[in-house]
Point group: C2
Chain length 188, copies 2
């Protein structure tokens, strides 16, 4: 009965996001998601622990990419430059998924309970980056400040990228957001 289904994960994700937008996140059941995707509930649970994980399942992957990128830069790299390299490293995860990301952001914006979860995700990714910087010998508060600044820059660029209909280059928006932040902090 467990025949292989082509791109089951992708179909489940698309079905879930469509239903969350049409009916609301709270009103959607796993049964309905599986049905819409033409798959079984059992298949759903092979990929996602619950319907919330469709929206937050990328957290571990993002953390791994951020941390690996910080570990990979040369020892002499300044903390904020290490963080900028980490932000750059996650761009490919999002760049080809513009429409799915837009749907996800719309669902979160419409569901207060998910906004707190989204904030927690940001805080966990910030902690992971700060910890990676500490392992490179960056002391606090520099490690946590650099990580926090990085997440702000990313969030600003990402929100703009996700909110606009035409796909812009996320890398370029991250660099622009970092430059804007530098200007604000320098008072220029």
């Amino acid at each position: 009965m467990s025949r292989w289904e082509p791109d089951a994960r992708g179909r489940l994700e698309q079905a879930a996001l469509d239903l969350y937008q049409e009916r609301g996140f709270e009103q959607t059941t796993v049964t309905e998601i599986a049905e819409r995707a033409g798959l079984t509930e059992r298949t759903f649970f092979r990929y996602f622990a619950d319907k919330r994980e469709v929206l937050f399942g990328d957290q571990d992957m993002l953390r791994t990419i951020f941390v690996s990128a910080i570990e990979a830069v040369s020892a002499s790299t300044a903390p904020l430059d290490a963080v900028a390299a980490a932000l750059e490293a996650v761009v490919p995860v999002f760049q080809e998924r513009h429409k799915l990301v837009q749907q996800r952001q719309a669902v979160i914006a419409a569901t207060p309970g998910l906004q707190e979860r989204e904030l927690l995700k940001g805080a966990l990714l910030t902690s992971a980056m700060a910890e990676a910087l500490r392992r490179r010998g960056v002391t606090d508060p520099a490690a946590s400040l650099a990580a926090e600044v990085g997440v702000i820059v990313f969030k600003t660029a990402f929100d703009r990228w996700a909110s606009e209909p035409n796909t812009q280059d996320l890398s370029r928006l991250i660099r622009a957001s970092l430059d804007q932040l530098k200007g604000i902090v320098a008072g220029t």
Copy 2:
């Protein structure tokens, strides 16, 4: 029956924080808080909507102070300087309450469900400051970036102030935290 009780609010707050630390937030009831404070439940509900509001009831006041401070600075003040003035303006709220703040932070650190609420509080205060900057004619992303940076600076200084046994000058820590952030962003 509703005779005036001297400093009922302060007594309820202290009783609540003591109980949250002793027994855990989830395990404490309003009945127990009122009893510990030598007051009635009815008096508790005159000051707090629920036991969570003992920990987050200052949010509206902080928002008002932040926003008023940003509105009060001269029109030529740079966005980050306006935000710095706002951070400075809330110092008196905390400076005389070091022990209560330490208790509050310990309770939140011990209660995962409260950490999401604390993140939401930070996000709401950030939005309020960004909105106040926009009303001064600061455009986005500068308004939201300046507000986000301000909250990072404050959080860094506040966490340090709250985690140390001897009361340091919170204003001094905020200025130090801002200088550290400027150094990181400038790459020095």
